[in-house]
């Protein structure tokens, strides 16, 4: 037990004062939640001393140690035990410690860091987040316990996880016009859609390798069809305001030609197509449009269409790109009617189910086989975005013409009330996405220029990315640890280093 000797306490003190608030490398770009916490630094030697005392002697000695360390009065103390699911070097000793009750998350984080540092001297200090009974601690500990009605008498078990916040901001990728959509489902490529009618493929989010052209108006939505696969052939669908969808297929290893033409054009919508979603088994596509219909398209096997030739002729006439690839025109396999206004977002989480959000304030669930609407929920606001995720991808997050991101549970019968509401944005919410692997994490973008990260276990945003100068139109997760977003400032921004375990 040599770590509890007095020279170490002195060393601990020096460490803490030297590190100060552990902020990210680029504090100007990323608004860490820690910066917003105005809590003064907790006098750490006291905590360390109390650790020593509590592990070896009864609590009365602890209080004495606290007093000796000049901490607040001993009546305002909570005994906590730090537990974690993190791997071994980040595991703190499981002894219970008396800490001042007015500690915030930052103070707790410092204690854990100092404990870890005491255990392994090479430890890098980093921010942590704390969970009590499955809820993130966002208030000072005392207020949190009071608000949740948890007794301060017993030893409080604090589970700590790595704080979810972007550590690094990559260089933005410039576009020629507003970036309307991004897709980060492929770990090595990022797909962006732009108002100039081109979709772009960015290798490692730094270099534009391909430009997918052909649309005569702005692209509204784009998606990889073969999600998550790292094979060389990419398969992409884009939807546009020119009322068509286009399918692209190309080899990523070949960088020439850079411009890619569509191999298939899907027509049928009578107004601009707003959103597109791909079937999990990747052979169907559904799209929502301003003509308030949802159409299903088949990805393959429509070469038997009679008017292929004429289409080719027309496309070659009007298209100046001069692509040599043959283009086929496909028509919708089925159409879901029911919405009364623009279908602004569609999501296809399972083989049989499509969710759609519309400006007629409703979120509907469709059965793919029958084409019937199986669930209809009226939210009261015009909706712009929708995503399914969470536990067994059964929760629905949607945002729209108000600054509140809402999460519904369609399994709950008889109620249309959202189970979660996140309202830190200042303007319309333009997109929302669940984390591909975590049940709790969400990213949302808003017209107020912010991209926010959310955790279902707290009502406060985990982090807010404010790199955009104008409206943010789209955001998505990429590689599980980055957030990509595009906006009206014609940039694709990447915030990386988000550790979600």
């Amino acid at each position: 037990m040599d770590i509890f000797s007095s020279p170490l306490a002195v060393r601990l003190e020096r460490t803490v004062t030297a590190t100060g608030p552990h902020i990210l490398q680029n504090p100007n770009q990323i608004n860490s939640p820690f910066e917003t916490l105005p809590k003064p630094l907790f006098p750490l030697p006291a905590a360390a001393a109390s650790t020593a005392a509590s592990s070896s002697s009864p609590p009365s000695d602890t209080a004495a140690a606290m007093d000796a360390g000049g901490a607040s009065d001993p009546s305002r103390q909570v005994r906590v035990r730090f537990v974690t699911k993190l791997p071994a070097p980040l595991r703190a000793p499981p002894t219970s410690i008396a800490v001042p009750a007015d500690l915030t998350r930052m103070g707790l984080s410092e204690i854990v860091n100092s404990l870890l540092l005491a255990a392994s001297p090479g430890h890098q200090t980093q921010p942590f987040d704390f969970l009590v009974d499955g809820e993130l601690v966002r208030l000072p500990l005392q207020e949190f316990l009071l608000a949740k009605g948890i007794s301060a008498e017993r030893v409080l078990e604090l589970e700590y996880v790595k704080a979810v916040a972007p550590r690094k901001q990559e260089d933005p990728c410039p576009h020629d016009d507003w970036v309307s959509t991004v897709d980060g489902s492929n770990p090595s490529f990022v797909l962006t859609g732009c108002y100039d009618g081109f979709a772009r493929i960015w290798r490692d989010a730094s270099e534009c390798t391909h430009i997918l052209e052909g649309h005569s108006d702005g692209i509204t939505s784009a998606s990889f069809i073969n999600k998550g696969e790292t094979e060389d052939r990419l398969h992409v669908v884009t939807s546009s305001k020119d009322r068509s969808l286009r399918l692209f297929k190309f080899d990523t290893s070949v960088s020439i030609p850079k411009q890619i033409g569509a191999y298939k054009i899907l027509r049928g919508h009578t107004s601009s197509v707003q959103s597109v979603a791909v079937d999990p088994s990747t052979d169907m596509i559904c799209s929502g449009s301003w003509d308030s219909s949802i159409k299903l398209w088949s990805v393959e096997g429509s070469e038997e269409d009679g008017d292929t030739v004429s289409v080719k002729k027309r496309r070659t006439n009007s298209d100046s790109s001069g692509t040599e690839e043959s283009q086929f025109e496909g028509s919708a396999t089925s159409t879901f009617l029911g919405h009364t206004q623009c279908v602004s977002a569609v999501a296809w989480p399972e083989r049989q189910t499509i969710y759609s959000a519309s400006w007629d304030h409703s979120v509907r669930q469709w059965d793919v086989q029958t084409g019937k609407e199986t669930w209809n929920m009226v939210s009261g606001k015009a909706l712009n975005c929708l995503d399914c995720g969470g536990e067994s991808s059964s929760l629905i997050a949607a945002g729209g013409s108000d600054p509140v991101l809402r999460v519904w549970d369609p399994r709950k019968p008889g109620t249309l009330a959202p189970i979660f509401q996140f309202s830190s944005h200042k303007s319309w919410i333009s997109s929302c996405k669940w984390h591909p692997s975590s049940w709790f994490h969400l990213v949302s973008s808003s017209f107020d220029g912010k991209v926010m990260l959310w955790d279902l276990r707290t009502a406060w945003p985990l982090a807010s990315v404010e790199t955009h100068k104008d409206k943010v139109l789209c955001a998505d997760w990429w590689k599980g640890d980055s957030v990509i977003s595009g906006g009206a400032d014609s940039k694709l921004c990447i915030a990386s280093g988000i550790e979600i375990v």
């Binding site: 400006w359 015009a382 319309w428």
Partner: protein, 648 residues
């Protein structure tokens, strides 16, 4: 029951209730009474006096209470019992052992007085009767009165004295004249009747009660007059004096000198008003020292007292407010600005929303017309028309994207170049001037331009275009006053024209005036019609908004004075019960305007929200406002060259 408990010497009981004692005697002679058998009550005559005696003896308080407590029950009930009843504590009274007949006879022979003993079956004991009682019994047995001094046959004394009275009654029959009416009386009656008929006798008229009274006068009024208007204000009632206020109180009431000194340290309010003092006699009590002071104070009170009492009516000012539904129940309505459409370089004078709500068009005095995407606030089209755009309007048909704009003195029709390709082709065809596509004139009479304002020409103000026919109607060559604004009826072929002070309703088919609405405002600036068609709102340049119910009256149903400056536009929502007004004072007001299908129910108007956000430029504020056709959103065009979207 009436037996005293063996106390036969009681004179009082013997005197007071002779009958009760006597009733107990049997019908045997006094010499040979067999007492033991006699108590059976076999003689029916003895029952009744027995009951009477019981009542009498009950009332006698001096009577000693009987030993037995069973009450007036037949004694045969106890015949076969071991006890005769219960004493006062509730324990059983055992029957005495009966002595045999021989013993009784022997005792009878021994004792000379034994014949006077009787057996009380109730109490199961023997009672000896006194001599007086025995005498009474024997008298009764002989049928005499029990008392000796009662005279059964006294002399009769007549109550009426006949001496000198004569006979009071006659037995003679009634004379006949008592049954016949009197001849002389009849003559008198005839005479009176004749006199009345001839009017010789005049009756006094019945005195009439005065059937009027002082409506406002009553006793209290006259009493007030007597008091000459000064209301009586009673002096405050003093408390009754206590012991300490006596001139010679007990010592304990008198404070010591230290206590009196301690009063000086107290606050003046807490100090006792009166300190008790002791005087030898009433004569040595001095005059009340504060008499003058208190009299003066009372005079001051009266002098400063208000002489007339005002009746104050307590009305809660909140209760005078009309009952309005809460704003929460009237949601959704536009509240917050979330989107701004920036791009114009001059005041945005007019805007119009496309029928589906996907785009808006705005015209500005910088000479440009812009088309915006509502969803993102992106400007997708700009036309430079080279003149101030006064008004702009989309074609209300969702498949013909034609914009009409009034630029300076010209009317421009533009192809908005949005939407379907086929529709765009069609629109292009429509707008071709050279050829006249007669084949498209298939009865589609929907006017393309809803709003046209022209300022130069006085006579022909309204241009009713039929796009398909490529010519204009000039239906109204004679108009009263300068037309300001005009709208079409949403369903019927009617046309509302607002002139400076009136709104005139024309029938388009007959081309004649149907109705004239009087607004009563200084100058009308804008007009809008409810989608139901029966209600019209009119905004004026003095900031007033008039709601007309055309079925109700030609005068405004409600006039709302909210804006400080000119109202620039008023508009109804097509789907939601909302209407809005925009004004030069940089605000837009949103109202709830519910029109009920029940004709008896007046429209409900509730002010909901003041929308601020525009800044003033050259003294001008919000120049136009339009609702989104499908959402509860309001677009406002400001003189600060910004178009704002307010959402719910």
């Amino acid at each position: 029951m009436g037996h005293s408990d063996g106390d036969h010497g009681s004179d009082l009981s013997a005197d007071d209730s002779p009958w009760s004692e006597g009733s107990w005697s049997d019908d045997d002679d006094e010499g040979s009474l067999s007492f033991e058998d006699s108590g059976e009550g076999s003689d029916p005559e003895s029952d009744e006096p027995d009951a009477a005696a019981a009542e009498e003896s009950d009332s006698s308080e001096d009577e000693v209470a009987p030993r037995n407590t069973i009450g007036d029950v037949p004694l045969e009930w106890y015949k076969n019992e071991e006890h005769i009843g219960y004493d006062i504590t509730g324990s059983k009274i055992k029957k005495r052992d009966r002595e045999g007949r021989i013993e009784a006879y022997l005792r009878n022979a021994d004792d000379a007085k034994n014949w006077r003993k009787i057996y009380d079956e109730y109490n199961d004991e023997e009672v000896q009767i006194t001599k007086e009682e025995a005498k009474i019994i024997s008298r009764l047995l002989k049928g005499r009165t029990p008392h000796t001094n009662v005279d059964p046959y006294p002399d009769y004394v007549d109550w009426f004295e006949y001496d000198g009275k004569g006979h009071p009654l006659s037995s003679a029959p009634e004379p006949k004249r008592r049954f016949v009416p009197s001849k002389w009386e009849q003559k008198k009656v005839v005479k009176l009747v004749r006199a009345i008929r001839k009017g010789w006798i005049k009756f006094d008229k019945p005195k009439e009660e005065p059937n009027f009274y002082l409506l406002w006068g009553d006793e209290t009024d006259t009493a007030d007059n007597k008091r000459q208007g000064l209301s009586y204000i009673p002096a405050p009632k003093p408390n009754l004096p206590g012991h300490e206020e006596s001139y010679n109180p007990s010592v304990e009431y008198i404070p010591t000198q230290e206590e009196i000194d301690s009063y000086q340290l107290m606050y003046e309010e807490d100090r006792p008003k009166f300190i008790p003092r002791k005087f030898d006699c009433l004569r040595s009590v001095p005059a009340y020292e504060k008499a003058l002071r208190e009299g003066f104070d009372r005079c001051l009170d009266l002098y400063l007292c208000p002489r007339t009492r005002k009746k104050r009516i307590n009305i809660d000012p909140e209760s005078l407010k009309p009952k309005l539904p809460s704003k929460k129940d009237l949601r959704p309505y536009p509240r917050t600005c979330y989107l701004e459409f920036k791009g114009h370089n001059g005041p945005v004078k007019s805007l119009s929303v496309e029928a589906t709500g996907q785009w808006i068009a705005s015209g500005s005095s910088d000479g440009t017309i812009r088309v915006w995407e509502v969803e993102t606030g992106r400007c997708i089209k700009v036309w430079n028309v080279g003149g101030v755009v006064h008004r702009i309007a989309w074609n209300p048909s969702p498949d013909r994207h034609i914009l009409a704009a009034v630029v300076d003195h010209d009317l421009l029709l533009l192809n908005a170049e949005v939407g379907d390709e086929d529709a765009q082709m069609k629109t292009k065809g429509l707008l071709q001037i050279e050829e006249l596509p007669q084949e498209e004139d298939n009865g589609d009479k929907k006017p393309a331009v809803r709003w046209v304002k022209h300022e130069k020409f006085d006579g022909i103000m309204l241009i009713h275009h039929k796009l398909s026919k490529k010519h204009s109607h000039h239906p109204f060559r004679k108009l009263l006053g300068l037309p300001i604004a005009a709208v079409f009826h949403p369903s019927q072929k009617m046309f509302f024209v607002a002139t400076k002070k009136f709104v005139q309703v024309y029938d388009l088919q007959k081309a004649q005036l149907v109705k004239k609405l009087e607004s009563g405002v200084r100058e009308i600036s804008s007009i809008s019609i409810h989608p139901g068609g029966d209600n019209v709102i009119v905004g004026s340049k003095d900031g007033k908004l008039c709601w007309f119910d055309t079925d109700l009256s030609t005068r405004p149903y409600k006039t709302l004075k909210n804006h400080l400056k000119d109202i620039t536009n008023v508009t109804f929502h097509r789907k939601y019960p909302l209407f809005a007004s925009s004004s030069e004072d940089c605000t837009a007001y949103v109202f709830h305007g519910m029109v009920y299908s029940d004709l008896n129910q007046n429209p409900l108007i509730v002010p909901l929200e003041i929308l601020r956000g525009h800044s003033s430029s050259d003294g001008r504020g919000v120049l136009d406002c339009k609702f989104h056709p499908r959402q509860p959103w309001l677009f406002t065009a400001g003189a600060d060259s910004v178009v704002r979207l307010y959402c719910d």
